[in-house]
Symmetry: C2
Subunit: 322 residues, 2 copies
C-alpha cells in the first residue's frame, strides 16, 4: 500500500450528512455532521452545508485544502460514477441528476470521486474492517434496504451502468410481497428491517409477539426490526422465529451469490451486527442447504466490523490504492 495521504470523506445520507478528514490508513483526524433536512433544504443548500463543514474540518485539523489529496463522496444510488452525478436516490426523493462531483471540485478545488454508499462501504470494510485480506468479497447492508457491494479480484464491480451489486433486488419468492422497488418477492422485501417489522406485525393478529408489541409501546404500527431483535435477545420465541424466517430468505440470497460469484467472504451489516447469531445462525443454515459445499467451505459469512466508523471510512476507502 502506498504511504498514507490525507483525504476528505463526504457522506450524503437521507437523515444525516457528514464530512471526515482522515488518513488513507483509516485514522480520522476531524469530523462534522448535521441533519440532512432534505424536505426543507434544496440539494444545493445541502451541498453548501457539506462544503462549509469540510472547510471547518480541514481547519479543525490545522490543515489547508492543499494538504488534502482528494474528496470521496458516498451517497445513495443510482448514480453516474464517471460524470459524478447523483441520479435519483430513493432516500433523497427531491434529488434529480445532482452534479456532486462538479460541485465539490468547484467548492473545494480538489479532485472528487463519487461512489454509491453500499459500494463505498464494501471498500471500507475491505480496507479497514471485516474484509481485510480477502480478494473476493460481497458486502450486504441489512437495514432499511439491502444494498450490496461486490469486490472481485480486488476490484469493485460496477457493471454496464453502475448498477451492479443490487443483490437485495434478486427474486427469492416469485409471488412474494411487493418490494419498495416495485418488483415482487425481492430479498429486500423479505429480509430487510421493514420486512422483519412487517413479518412481526403480520403475526400480531394471531395474538403472538406480546413482547415485541410491548417494546413498541403497544402500537403495532410502531414495531421496528430493533424491537424484534430486542425481544429475540430476551429469548422471546416468536421474535426468534421471525429472525429465523428472515435469516432463511437472507441465506438463500447469499447462497445464490455464492453460487454465482464464489466469494471467500460475505460481510453483513446493520441487523446482522445487532442481532448476531440470532440471525447469522439461520443465515448460515440456509446457505448450507442452498449453496454447494465446495463453494461455501471457502466462504466465511461474518458481521461487518466498522460500526459507526463505516460512514466516515466509506469515502476514505475510495482513495486507498494498492
Amino acid at each position: 500500500m502506498k504511504s498514507a495521504r490525507v483525504v476528505l470523506s463526504v457522506d450524503i445520507g437521507g437523515t444525516k450528512c457528514a464530512v471526515a478528514l482522515a488518513r488513507t490508513d483509516g485514522e480520522i483526524l476531524a469530523r462534522r455532521s448535521e441533519p440532512t433536512r432534505a424536505a426543507e433544504r434544496k440539494p444545493e443548500q445541502v451541498l453548501a452545508g457539506l462544503a462549509a463543514m469540510a472547510r471547518e474540518a480541514i481547519a479543525d485539523a490545522g490543515m489547508a485544502p492543499g494538504d488534502v489529496a482528494g474528496v470521496g463522496v458516498s451517497c445513495g444510488g443510482p448514480l453516474d460514477r464517471e460524470r459524478g452525478v447523483i441520479l435519483s436516490p430513493p432516500n433523497l426523493p427531491e434529488w434529480k441528476a445532482v452534479p456532486v462531483r462538479a460541485f465539490f471540485e468547484e467548492a473545494l478545488g480538489l479532485p472528487v470521486r463519487v461512489e454509491n454508499d453500499a459500494n463505498a462501504t464494501a471498500l471500507a470494510e475491505w480496507r479497514f474492517g471485516a474484509g481485510q485480506g480477502a480478494r473476493h468479497l460481497v458486502f450486504l447492508t441489512m437495514g432499511t434496504g439491502i444494498g450490496g457491494g461486490i469486490i472481485l479480484d480486488g476490484r469493485l464491480v460496477h457493471g454496464a451502468n453502475d448498477l451492479a451489486g443490487e443483490i437485495g433486488h434478486q427474486t427469492i419468492l416469485m409471488n412474494g410481497p411487493v418490494c419498495g422497488c416495485g418488483k415482487r418477492g425481492c430479498l429486500e422485501a423479505l429480509a430487510s428491517g421493514p420486512a422483519i417489522a412487517r413479518l412481526a406485525r403480520d403475526s400480531m393478529m394471531y395474538g403472538r409477539h406480546k413482547r415485541v408489541l410491548a417494546l413498541a409501546g403497544g402500537r403495532p404500527a410502531d414495531i421496528t426490526a430493533a424491537h424484534v431483535v430486542q425481544a429475540a435477545r430476551e429469548g422471546d420465541p416468536f421474535a426468534c422465529q421471525i429472525l429465523e424466517e428472515a435469516g432463511t430468505y437472507m441465506g438463500i440470497g447469499i447462497a445464490n451469490v455464492i453460487q454465482i460469484l464464489n466469494p471467500e467472504r460475505v460481510i453483513l451489516g446493520t441487523i446482522a451486527v445487532h442481532a448476531g447469531d440470532l440471525i447469522l445462525d439461520p443465515i448460515r443454515a440456509a446457505v448450507a442447504e442452498y449453496a454447494w459445499e465446495r463453494s461455501r467451505q471457502v466462504c466465511a459469512i461474518v458481521p461487518a466490523a466498522l460500526g459507526d466508523r463505516a460512514q466516515d471510512l466509506a469515502g476514505v476507502a475510495l482513495w486507498v490504492e494498492d
Copy 2:
C-alpha cells in the same frame, strides 16, 4: 489485439473428445474428434487418444509442435485451474483429480491452459461470437445442464476456488424439484433440457402433449427437450406452454444475474439457439418483470452465435490476448 498465433484446442466432453488446430483470430486449420467412451477407457487412455489426435492435426496442417504457441483445454468442472487438474466432472464420473495440464505439457512439450467448458465458451462467444464488443457479459448454456461463464470488465470471473459462474444452481423455487446437484429448486432443475422434458412428461397424465409424445415415438420416457421444441415449432399449444414455463424460470434467473452484475449482454446457448423466440420471448418477458428497467435497458439477451464451432474455439479463446 496481438497478431494471430497458432494454438491447439482440446475439448474433453462426456460423449466426444476433439482437438482443433486454429489461429487466435478464430480460423480453424485442422481438427480431429472421437467418441470419449469414458465407460470403457481410463482417463489416461482418453488423454493419450487426444494427444495422438493433436499430433495428427498438427501434421495435417503441415506444421510441427514448435509452430504451436500453446494448448487450451476445455472440460467440465469443477477443476483446479492453477494446477490444471480436473477434479470430478459430473459428465465424466470416473475422472477424479486428473492432472490434464501436466499430461499435455509432457505429451506435447507445450504450455497448457485449462478452463471449465462454460467459462471457455463464454470467452469464445466474447472473442468470436455473440459477445463481441461487450465489456461485461454473461454466457449461459441451456442444454443437459445450465452452466455459466461471467466476463466483467473484459476478464473472466473465477472466484475463490474456480466455482464462480454456477448460475444454473441459484435457487429459483425454495421448495422446487430436486436438482441433479442435490439441491432443491435450482434454475437447472427448472429450465435445462431434462427439466423441459420432465415438464412435458409430468403433464402427460392430463392427456395433453399428443404431438410431443408422437415425436418421442409414443414412449413418454423418451421425450426430450428437442421433441418439445419441435412440437412448439409446429404450433402445438402445450409444447409452447412448456417452453413458456421454462423460459419464465430462466428469465427470473437471468433477471437475478442482471440485478447482481449489471451486464450489457446475456448470451444463451443450445435450447435458446434451437427454439429461438419460442423461448426467448418468455425469457425476455420475465426479465422485464423481474429486473429493473434501468438495468435491463442496457442489457441485450441474445442467442449464442458460434454453434458447432464453439467447442473448437473454446480452447482457442484461452490464448487470445488483448
